[in-house]
Symmetry: C2
Subunit: 422 residues, 2 copies
């Protein structure tokens, strides 16, 4: 171990390294994010804000030296003095995995932007934050295993989720959906679980389409254990994705934390079978809160595994769409790509008259730390010249503002009553 | 035949007879409606308006003597010179049936009021009327066979319709629905056909609940022929209902004309199984146009007999509600009784502030000929004193007006441009 550079040395050097070279974050940033991914359990709004504000390298330095705010330090605890970041990166490398960080071009910034926006709605006081299992907070980094690019697969993807204790009907439908979506060039994202998840993954694989399993444990682990062959096949053409470092165990609460990623990474979520008051229902409601289309496959009213699906379809406020096949799914998420430029969390007024490019640039702007036009252009998928053309318009409309670090969304107005700080 | 009074003699006497005695129309009125029921095929807006304006007895006199407008006479043709009215009434009597007419207290005026309102929306020019198979026009009379009162059964009733070529799943669900609705005191109305219709009727009968089959042929005929025992059981406790006189054959187009009655007589229509672009779908859309709640039972997406159901549930404008059991159905039509006081054909503005009693009295008012407060009280299900209390309010709001014959809805304003008549 002595031959390896220490974390703290790496962090000191990292302060001066170029952010990206050839679309890849520098080694110090990656190591910092690897360390953060083990140091704190994902899903904390306060922790994510701390890292976002300080930057990954500086965040690690402060946590290691005890200079982070108390509430953030408490989330790391004794792990501040430990370091397995290089081991984790090497362990990932050995199983064909790597760490994708927000500073990489490959980062699925556009899909995850809905989480950034939702996090922006969380109050300042951490005591009032949503609990970790339901908090809408972006991941700090993603461990991915497989040959595909996560941003590319997420771009045209649909989540297919449902009961573990599925019926043969549900598995048949999930398999057909996976197959038909795969044939149409859509990526099926699911959780790699028994039942509907596995059937959907298998359907996609049968169509020779890459599929993505978002796991609640390390990408080198197989849970459930019987899915070794399935995960191996997924990792051959698609991706296994996890917020947790290699070796992490599939604790129960991690599945709930994980579910927000399945909803956020995809354009919409299809529920195939769900019992009454089930986890699949909760995932669907979460997708809706993130502005994603909820789609539901009905079933026989005599089947307990369709009761949850029918409850979702009876919920007028949820706005779920009944889908019977992949054609219906593509129809729904296709429309979404045009119609739902703005997530429901922000009022729409001033955005209405914007051009397509302007909306994309606006969606690419982060909530907190500003970024440069080059990065906006990459995330928005347009030329830098386009970005420079529309930024003044967005600034005039009071939608974005310039900071030292670059451009960001204009923060919502402060509450009228003073916050009483200081 | 010479011992029987001739139709024309009866009509002359009928002009002076009291309209109702003990809630029953006089014999001349009943004979007139019996004659009309055979003289013209149901479903004609122009014919219904002619009878409504002239009154049944006078309408028959004019038609018999050639003094009716040309377009109305053309609908009767050579039948103007024929008369089987007494034979029809006697034939009905022999099979335990009778003719219920709008002048009877038993007439289901409140449910059928939606057809009166919809007919009011039809243009003056008969050439622009909806075709007979889809025209929203009230029946001229109803031949009913069975011990129950048609107005009472219609009051708390739900239509359960669906495919003839149903699956065992659909029949099971329809039977369960019929049974559970019957147990809860709701009347199942259907069309007496093979498949879903029969299963729904049988379910209701198994719960010892009266059920109503609205037929497209005479109530003394059995179509389909295999349903002799079923119709016999329905007629023992519930009702067989038809617009057509005894002996009338089940012509294909009559089923379409009949369907509007199933929708109008009930508070809502449940579709259990329906193929793509099927008759059950058309019935559901018709119910929606009449302001009735459309409810749909989903099924396996792998079943061709549920494709039509899923199409209905995917149609956002239809506003159909997914129902999985009788509880869901009662929830929907229960709400309807409160929320849908006004059918969609009329603007709602001035009605918003009205009391529950006022809305019921308003709904009881006919479009054309005025009626007295006693009749309004009976139809609205409240005291005459209540009616007398709210009528001045409704008159002030310009919702009703007093005519020689009594109270009626204020007609909609004339078009701005002159009609150019005369």
């Amino acid at each position: 171990m002595t031959a390896l550079p220490s974390l703290d040395e790496d962090m000191e050097q990292g302060l001066t390294e170029l952010t990206t070279v050839d679309g890849l974050a520098g080694p110090a940033v990656r190591r910092a994010r690897a360390w953060l991914s083990r140091a704190a359990e994902p899903g904390s709004v306060a922790f994510w804000r701390f890292v976002e504000d300080a930057g990954a390298v500086e965040a690690v330095r402060r946590l290691r030296s005890g200079r982070a705010p108390d509430d953030v330090r408490a989330l790391v605890g004794a792990r501040a003095g430990q370091d397995a970041s290089l081991e984790d990166l090497l362990r990932a490398e050995r199983c064909g995995a790597r760490l994708v960080v927000p500073e990489d071009d490959e980062w699925p910034a556009q899909p995850l932007h809905c989480l950034t926006l939702a996090t922006g709605e969380e109050p300042d006081d951490p005591r009032h934050h949503a609990p970790r299992t339901t908090a809408p907070v972006p991941p700090l980094a993603l461990w991915v295993r497989g040959p595909a690019r996560v941003d590319e697969l997420a771009d045209r993807s649909v989540a297919v989720v449902g009961a573990r204790a599925s019926t043969s009907y549900g598995e048949h439908v999930a398999g057909e959906l996976g197959h038909q979506l795969g044939e149409r060039g859509w990526t099926v994202v699911s959780g790699g679980a028994f039942g509907i998840d596995a059937a959907a993954h298998r359907g996609a694989l049968a169509a020779d389409a890459p599929t993505v399993a978002v796991l609640a444990c390390g990408v080198d682990r197989v849970y459930p254990a019987a899915h070794g062959a399935l995960f191996h096949r997924i990792a051959e053409s698609g991706l296994l994705v996890s917020e947790w470092p290699p070796g992490a165990a599939p604790h129960r609460h991690r599945f709930l934390v994980r579910n927000r990623l399945i909803a956020a990474l995809t354009r919409g979520t299809v529920v195939v079978e769900a019992a009454a008051r089930s986890g699949a229902q909760a995932t669907a409601r979460r997708a809706q809160k993130l502005g994603r289309q909820v789609m539901v496959v009905p079933g026989p009213v005599t089947s307990a595994m369709s009761v949850g699906c029918h409850e979702l379809l009876r919920d007028v406020e949820l706005g779920a769409v009944l889908v019977a096949d992949a054609r219906h799914v593509v129809e729904s998420v296709g429309r979404l790509g045009e119609d739902l430029a703005d997530p429901p969390e922000r009022p729409t007024g001033p955005r209405d008259g914007l051009s397509d490019v302007a909306v994309r640039v606006l969606d690419a702007c982060p909530v907190r730390s500003g970024v440069g036009p080059e990065r906006l252009a990459r995330v928005a998928g347009c030329d830098v010249l386009d970005v420079l053309r529309v930024l003044p318009v967005l600034e005039l409309a009071d939608l974005v503002e310039r900071t030292d670090g670059g451009w960001r969304l204009t923060p919502p107005p402060e509450p009228v009553a003073g916050a009483g700080r200081g």
